[in-house]
Symmetry: C2
Subunit: 202 residues, 2 copies
């Protein structure tokens, strides 16, 4: 039964993400989400207390889409997180809805910083590992740099979305690193960071 | 009469900005905007065809809040634009509403990239001047860097807004430049860029 409840919750989360991703928060009704998941609105209320609660759960599910894809460490891991994120945004509605709702939340009266802090913590951990491995310039502050990377990624995806539906987000993400790394990493670390295109990237 | 029409339009733009800034797009009605401006809704329709048209005008008015404040050139001008922007966001409702609507526009079904392109063009011009003055590293591409700065500023203000109502946006903006400049400017230019606190900044 427990396993089934987890499965149903995940089903609802994905259905909500697909609706929010396509239509935004304001235009998405709970009955549409329930229908897409093949469930009743009553069943939905068993798992989520409100549309706002569902939106928050979608926002907070963002890291799920990234974590299984990575085995690098330190600064390379930080770079790879953002590159997987850029690719997943092109194909994963759960991540895309999470990012969309996080950016647009002010428009529907929500102020939930949780997903931003999740990303910051993950990135700060990479930067602390990088510091221990001697990859960082002495002046680099892992906490502040992590906050800036989260901020910059948020802005880069929004810009790319408005310009071309995020088609070139993977390239923009690599360009961001070419710009940022000289201000973060020691000169000896720079040539060791792999920014080469991945399979499927232009 | 022409002058009076310009004045009335500006009055409506400011009134709309104050309402959008306080309540967001969805919760703001045209009658409230007209009332705040001391005009009728009919007079409003003489200047703007719809709420969406008014929102677009507010988004596109962003550069107004910056341009009168600057007399620097090249890379320093680019830095100063973002620093004036950070300070003005704390006190100018017209700029604040423009930024808010630009970020949240997906939530009310608008996709208007104009204000982002205005910022990009202004910043690209600074970077082209910087190139001519020999301030840039050879690999620095003015157009791509300008797009990244617009993106990063968009994300930094959103993050700062969620964390602390943008209170530390001026400091975050200076930190952004400490990170970015080594990847953009020649080593000889770096010490000449003034990032010292301004009067009123902590």
């Amino acid at each position: 039964m427990q396993e089934r409840a987890v499965h149903t919750r995940e089903l609802l989360l994905r259905a909500a993400a697909e609706e929010f991703d396509a239509a935004g928060y304001a235009s998405t009704g709970l009955s549409k989400i329930a229908k897409r998941a093949g469930l009743t609105v009553g069943a939905l209320y068993f798992h989520f207390e409100s549309k706002e609660g569902l939106a928050k759960a979608v926002m907070r599910a963002q890291p799920q889409s990234i974590e299984p894809h990575l085995d690098s460490e330190g600064l390379q891991r930080l770079v790879d997180i953002t590159r997987v994120w850029a690719q997943q945004l092109l194909r994963d509605p759960l991540l895309r809805a999470g990012v969309r709702l996080s950016v647009e939340q002010g428009g529907f009266g929500v102020q939930d910083i949780t997903s931003f802090l999740q990303w910051r913590d993950t990135m700060e951990e990479c930067l602390r590992d990088a510091r221990e491995s001697g990859e960082l310039l002495p002046r680099t502050d892992p906490a502040r740099v992590a906050e800036f990377i989260v901020s910059a990624c948020t802005g880069v995806q929004l810009y790319a979305q408005l310009v071309n539906g995020r088609r070139d987000l993977p390239e923009r993400t690599v360009e961001m690193w070419r710009l940022l790394l000289p201000g973060i990493a020691t000169p000896g670390t720079l040539p060791r960071i792999d920014l080469a295109p991945w399979p499927g990237e232009s």
